[in-house]
């Protein structure tokens, strides 16, 4: 079963043949004197209109009758700039264009490809240093990142294995197969890599358990059941570079002695499922997956299992139940899956990011990885930074980078000159950290110490208009809905927490609610069976700790300081600012709550208003007459004039 060093030359030779092939195919494309247009076609790109943009390019190229290639790639992580297009026009550096609408696409073809004018007004930056066009490296969103896992995302075509191999892919697997399993486990232990799924368990130790575990067969599972509402890096990795994950899985399988692999993907990610399936097929055809990998007697086959929408299945014992065709309910541990997992056999479960880091570690060595980032959680961390931030998207940074750098320097801070309030890290298991914690380095231990959690890496930035009580309520609503219902604390406890929070956001909070929340949270944390229940109270506990004044304002003054809780706010139109005869707001109101006053200004019927805020957006900026107040009784009452009887 083991490919000893004796046949390492044979492995190398097999791999070199593969690589020569791949380089030849991609060298031809790169060397060709034909313009090449690459469009980011991952889910977010498509949602932003990449399909229409691609069609526009193709049509325009046909109309102008020029020779150019239009290709799809994955996601580069710059979601704010989607659809994102890179044009490599001979004689120019590769240029990156942001927010490319079909109109811009047509303009780029006729001006740039035909007339040689790169249209500076649409340029985001050049991908290489040059003296013609400013480089994207001048832009902190590019220069401050350090990419391991996402290095090739958005740069290669995920549907072509040759592209991955040409960029150095599967080299780590070839290297690994010439080592003994013990050597690989040791390398991973040296690297200090910790599981990127949330809890941060040492990957090397997990593999060691797996290697030592006895069982007639072993399974490697890639956990891609990314359920945190606000995190999507796993999806992006699967869509943009599926081979890197497969390579990591194969190395893991060789190290622990597994023959079967399963990628457990959320059903909500159809494109990711498609990409990983294509990748498996191609990898098998090339002999880097399947039986007798690279000429050795090591065999490893991978299948895809689609989750059916249950957040709790991200928990490894629940995930196993679900693969076995049962209700995804977590089981008491021990036994741990590494010893008794799927069908009672040893099962190694790792997150997408963890497995995708493995090829780089094997290629560059464990020491290299250990040197990167903070000493106790070395390596890189991938965050999806979203919410009230100027440049949202995926960011890969060395661990230990401070939150301030991440939110303000890399992602541009909060837009519209609103004040930063908090950053929510780790989704439903994490917490909200206020400004005072912005200098916290992002690594497993520092974040837990601050009360949050690395979790899956979802990061939502909140500004002064975000209500912390409402955010806590939102997360409890989520965990409560996703609780499997097995154990008492999670099933009933989270519902009780939610009820109290709902009461508070509706202005029905009572004296003693804060204390009740605190004790209940502690008990749920202590008493729950699995990680979902144990971490569910975190959003409440951190917001209570850092934003207690907001809870008190809701309970005692029935006021929402952020003006978000709809039961505690009201909109009204400032008659001094409202322009006579203007009716911009009237059409925007979905419930016809806006009426004309006697002197032909507008006012809001509070009994009808649903507080959606559309009128605020509709009111012309020179008037800004619509105001939001909390508590609602501060809004002046204006009677609707009697309609003339017909």
């Amino acid at each position: 079963m083991k490919a000893g060093p004796s046949n390492s030359d044979a492995i190398k030779e097999r791999f070199e043949t593969l690589k020569r092939d791949a380089l030849q195919r991609f060298g031809e494309i790169k060397g060709a004197e034909v313009p090449r247009i690459t469009i980011g076609m991952a889910t977010c790109g498509i949602a932003a209109g990449a399909v229409e943009t691609k069609a526009a390019f193709e049509k325009a190229i046909a109309q102008h009758n020029i020779d150019a290639r239009v290709e799809a790639t994955g996601c580069i992580g710059h979601c704010y700039a989607e659809p994102l297009v890179v044009i490599e026009n001979p004689g120019f550096p590769p240029i990156c264009y942001n927010n490319v609408t079909p109109g811009k696409a047509r303009a780029l073809v006729s001006s740039f490809l035909v007339d040689g004018d790169p249209l500076f007004e649409y340029v985001l930056g050049a991908l290489e240093e040059n003296d013609m066009i400013p480089s994207v490296r001048d832009f902190p969103r590019f220069s401050m990142e350090e990419r391991i896992v996402t290095a090739l995302s958005g740069r290669i075509d995920p549907e072509k294995i040759e592209n991955y191999i040409a960029e150095g892919g599967y080299e780590a697997l070839a290297k690994a197969l010439a080592l003994t399993p013990q050597e690989i486990v040791q390398e991973v232990q040296i690297s200090g890599l910790r599981g990127r799924g949330g809890a941060g368990f040492a990957t090397g130790r997990k593999w060691e358990f797996g290697l030592k575990a006895q069982g007639e067969s072993k399974t490697v599972i890639c956990n891609a059941d990314e359920g945190d509402p606000g995190a999507y890096m796993d999806r992006t990795i699967l869509e943009s570079n599926p081979h890197q994950l497969l390579e990591g899985m194969a190395i893991c399988a060789y190290a622990v002695g597994a023959e079967k692999g399963i990628v457990y993907v959320r059903a909500e990610y159809p494109l990711a499922v498609k990409m990983i399936r294509i990748a498996i097929e191609q990898a098998e055809a090339k002999g880097v997956l399947g039986s007798g990998i690279l000429g050795t007697d090591f065999s490893f086959s991978v299948s895809v299992f689609q989750g059916s929408g249950a957040f709790v299945c991200g928990e490894e014992t629940a995930l196993i139940q679900s693969i076995e065709g049962k209700r995804g309910m977590p089981q008491h541990r021990p036994p741990f899956p590494a010893l008794q997992g799927l069908w009672g056999l040893p099962t190694i479960i790792n997150n997408v990011k963890t497995l995708s880091t493995i090829p780089a570690i094997i290629k560059k060595g464990g020491e290299w990885h250990k040197q990167m980032g903070s000493p106790k959680s070395p390596g890189s961390a991938i965050f999806s930074v979203v919410g009230k931030v100027v440049h949202p998207g995926l960011v890969e940074i060395p661990t230990g980078t401070t939150l301030r750098t991440l939110v303000f320097d890399i992602c541009g801070g909060t837009p519209h000159r609103k004040a930063f309030k908090a950053v929510q890290i780790g989704g439903p298991s994490g917490g909200c950290l206020p400004e005072a914690f912005l200098d916290t380095p992002v690594d497993f231990d520092s974040l837990i110490e601050a009360g949050a959690m690395m979790g899956s890496g979802g990061m939502v930035v909140m500004d002064e208009n975000s209500c912390m009580v409402d955010v806590a309520r939102y997360f409890l609503d989520f965990t409560q809905k996703e609780s499997c219902g097995k154990c008492t604390f999670c099933r009933i406890g989270t519902r009780q927490l939610l009820n109290i929070l709902e009461r508070i956001t509706k202005g029905e909070g009572r004296e003693g609610d804060i204390e009740l929340l605190t004790t209940l949270c502690e008990e749920i944390k202590e008493g729950s069976l699995c990680g979902l229940g144990k971490t569910a109270p975190n959003p409440v506990l951190t917001s209570l700790k850092y934003f207690r004044d907001e809870y008190e304002a809701h309970i005692k003054e029935k006021r929402c300081p952020a003006g978000m809780c709809r039961a505690l706010t009201a909109f009204y139109i400032d008659l001094d600012r409202c322009a006579r005869g203007c009716d911009a707001c009237v059409g925007s109101c979905p419930v016809e709550a806006i009426f004309t006053t006697r002197d032909r200004k507008k006012a809001i019927d509070q009994t009808k208003c649903v507080k959606c805020g559309e009128c605020v957006a509709a009111c012309p900026p020179q008037y800004t007459a619509v105001k939001r107040v909390s508590p609602p009784h501060l809004a002046p009452r204006i009677e609707r004039p009697q309609e003339p009887q017909e």
């Binding site: 999806r235 919410g387 419930v591």
Partner: protein, 182 residues
Amino acid sequence: MDAARPNENDDNVTPLKVLAATLAPFDVKRENLIPILQTIQEKEGYLSPEAMKMVAKHLGVTASEVYGVASFYNQFRFHPPGKHQIKVCLGTACHVVGGEIILENFERKLGIKHGETTPDREFSVDRVACVGCCALAPVAIVDETTHGHMAPSKVEGILLGFQIEKERKEREKEQRESGSQQ
């Protein structure tokens, strides 16, 4: 209608033969239960009581087991969906920019609550937890199309678009019919 008691008298039941053909390629293995249910739902749009009973028979487990598993997962529905499926994302990023307001607008305009289908079976509205397009929040998915940066006015626009499309088709149909009569 309570989900624990799937509608026994649904008139929209797929011919059982078609179902049997769907089941045939799957081995009699418990781990095929979820993939089978997913395949049926993809074809039928939902899981009818008859379908679940057939799956049970195929796999040699009780119908109760099948329903127990199916009702655990968000993905499975027990009633036929609308012709147009509207899913409103309520992920964190969408929530902080008013995803719930978008959902409410769909609900109000269609006169149904999330999880329900309009009486004419044209539309169904569901809430989903994060589709991973957070930078475009708030997001709604209508059939296969993702709509980013939603606003109540866009809700109206989307529904109006369907209305116009439907009327156009009806007109065409009428014209064709009146044309064929001549």
